[in-house]
Symmetry: C2
Subunit: 341 residues, 2 copies
DNA sequence: ATGTTTAATGTAATCGATTACATTTTATGA
DNA sequence: TCATAAAATGTAATCGATTACATTAAACAT
């Protein structure tokens, strides 16, 4: 059928061992034979059979990335960064996007644990319960966990500083004098970033000895990544007898929903209401007024996580920081000002 | 080392052939033995070795998707749709994003042709020259081509109707009475969508017996997917002695750049200038005024392309439409009106 | 009861590389 | 020149499944 190593060997007048060496350890072969083998490979248009190689070496040179979605700006940047490292290091990337669907996440985990499919797994912002996540950790491939906490294990993880992100936006608003500050947050059960961002909100208040008004904290369980459903919630906030003077959105997409509602109600940002987001997506700077938000170095996180993972694969014995926290940075634009009156 | 089929066989008191049958052809095995084998698998936590299977069956159950970027809304939706089909059909998805970089595209093609890595390839919006693309087509795996034309081969392709998209926005502006209509287009050498969208622009004029003013056609060679560089070009248009009354952007991101420039210059959309985009990304409807654009059913394209590809894999003899053209739909919003004066 | 078909299982070759170990060739030193 | 070390290459076992073919057991017909 297809040309195999044996054919190349025959054509070059050597053994398959030598052909294999030309491919994997060229230094062990004399220049002369090397050339002959290369020519034969060229001539016959030989393509190595990766399955056979994998079977023998027990390596796939594939990394799996498990990620809730690739449609969000932060996520797709991260994936691209990961892929860049993969390409550079001659790995191939298996995309496992779970769409925030725990069943699908479970299915992918089953796949990745039950079968020798990838040399390593990058597991991003899981939404699954801890015991599901642990199944993967107990699997054969090394795993790097991003944006998830599993207190009791020593799994290496690379985290964005989610706490700090919302803490910074909130603190900024508080420093402008706002006290009626609302929070729009996600509340999917095991979604670490949402929990941490909430934490940041509380922290900012605590820092100046206050507590946020619970009535101004809105948490929506949003499995999908559709954002239109936030508008009702936002209207509710404005309909309050004592409405917020500032709104902290847990991400930019939701902040833009606030913009939309304000437009509907004829409210002016920032004069009538201050708004902050998080993530610094492209539209954050394009929108009018430009949105104050937090820059999340997604590419950097992807790069670091991937580099760690590759290190775990190639040097299983080497120690790795079990926790890397990536700092984030407040970007002040025009969507906030001192409270009216 | 790890538990293999032989161990399961021993534990269940059968031969490996039977274990294999339980996994692949359960009907050939008696209920009794089947149960025993399943128990043993469970007991031993047996995980099949995919490399071994692939070696034997010559199948990888992997599809590779080659795509310029996953950071554009149209693209990431398409990828997700493709992945949905893959998951459903028990395939795994290899992500090969080329970042609009022909060298990287070339490298991926080499990988995909030189090695038995995927059972099929989805090749989206290539930017490479025809002979590079042909290398892939000559490779071992079946390929579906999206948004590319290679007149002389009978490669099955699934195309978005790029011509029609811009033709519709342009025709719409013309029908409103605009004559000074500018085009902002991409001009990467082998990028089919850009060529076709330009075509649509010309067609719309031709339909009413006119020709567009060449001075109003701006084509930017933009290898990356950064869009900020358009602003200079847009300013140039407005600085013309006889500036356009309407601007046709080849996609929504660029249309939003027009919005930004208008804001800078104090021009009002649509009163001072009408603007259209293409793709109907999320911000198109969120922006103020909402953008008139063209809805591109990216998910559908992904789904169809993937289904065709799987058909080619499972039924190599079956005939497949060599060209599928997916219709697109004009979405009129508030960014256009009749020309002033 | 016996021959014949069908169902269930086993035996062993095979897929195509890698690599430990053995062997041959070449280089080096006294 | 010859012994010995180093370099180059070859031989064959091995990775872990699948599956053609062979065999045995069960079901059925007459």
């Amino acid at each position: 059928m297809s040309v195999k190593m044996e054919d190349v060997a025959r054509a070059a007048g050597v053994s398959t061992a030598t052909v294999s060496r030309v491919l994997n350890n060229p230094d062990l072969v004399s220049d002369d034979t090397k050339q002959r083998v290369m020519d034969a490979i060229q001539q016959l248009d030989y393509k190595i059979n990766l399955a056979a190689r994998s079977l023998r070496t027990n390596q796939t040179r594939t990394i799996a990335i498990v990620i809730p979605t690739i449609s969000e700006p932060v996520m797709n940047e991260l994936v691209e960064a990961v892929e860049d490292v993969a390409v550079q290091e001659n790995y191939t990337l298996l995309l496992c996007s779970t769409r925030g669907n725990p069943e699908r996440e479970q299915a992918y985990i089953r796949l990745l644990t039950q079968q020798t499919i990838a040399d390593g797994v990058l597991y991003l912002s899981p939404r699954a319960a801890p015991d599901v996540v642990r199944q993967l950790l107990d699997g054969p491939a090394p795993v790097i966990l991003c944006n998830y906490s599993l207190d009791d294990t020593a799994t290496p993880s690379v985290m964005m500083d989610h706490v700090s992100s919302i803490q910074q936006t909130t603190a900024y608003l508080l420093s402008l004098g706002h006290r009626q500050v609302a929070l729009l947050n996600l509340s999917a059960p095991h979604y670490y970033p949402a929990r941490m961002r909430h934490q940041g909100f509380e922290n900012a208040f605590a820092e100046i000895g206050l507590t946020p008004d619970p009535i101004l904290i809105k948490e929506l369980d949003q499995p999908t990544y559709e954002h239109d459903e936030w508008q009702d919630t936002i209207h509710q906030l404005f309909d309050l007898p004592d409405p917020p003077t500032a709104i902290v959105a847990f991400n930019d997409m939701v902040a833009l929903q606030v913009y939309a509602v304000c437009r509907q109600r004829g409210l002016r940002i920032p004069d009538d209401i201050s708004v902050t987001g998080c993530d610094d997506i492209l539209s954050a700077s394009h929108v009018e007024p430009a949105l104050t938000t937090v820059r999340i170095p997604a590419r950097e996180q992807g790069r670091i996580a991937m580099q760690y993972l590759l290190k775990m694969i190639t040097q299983p014995e080497a120690s790795i920081n079990s926790l890397t926290l990536i700092p984030v940075e407040l970007v002040t634009r025009e969507s906030c000002t001192v409270p009216a009156g």
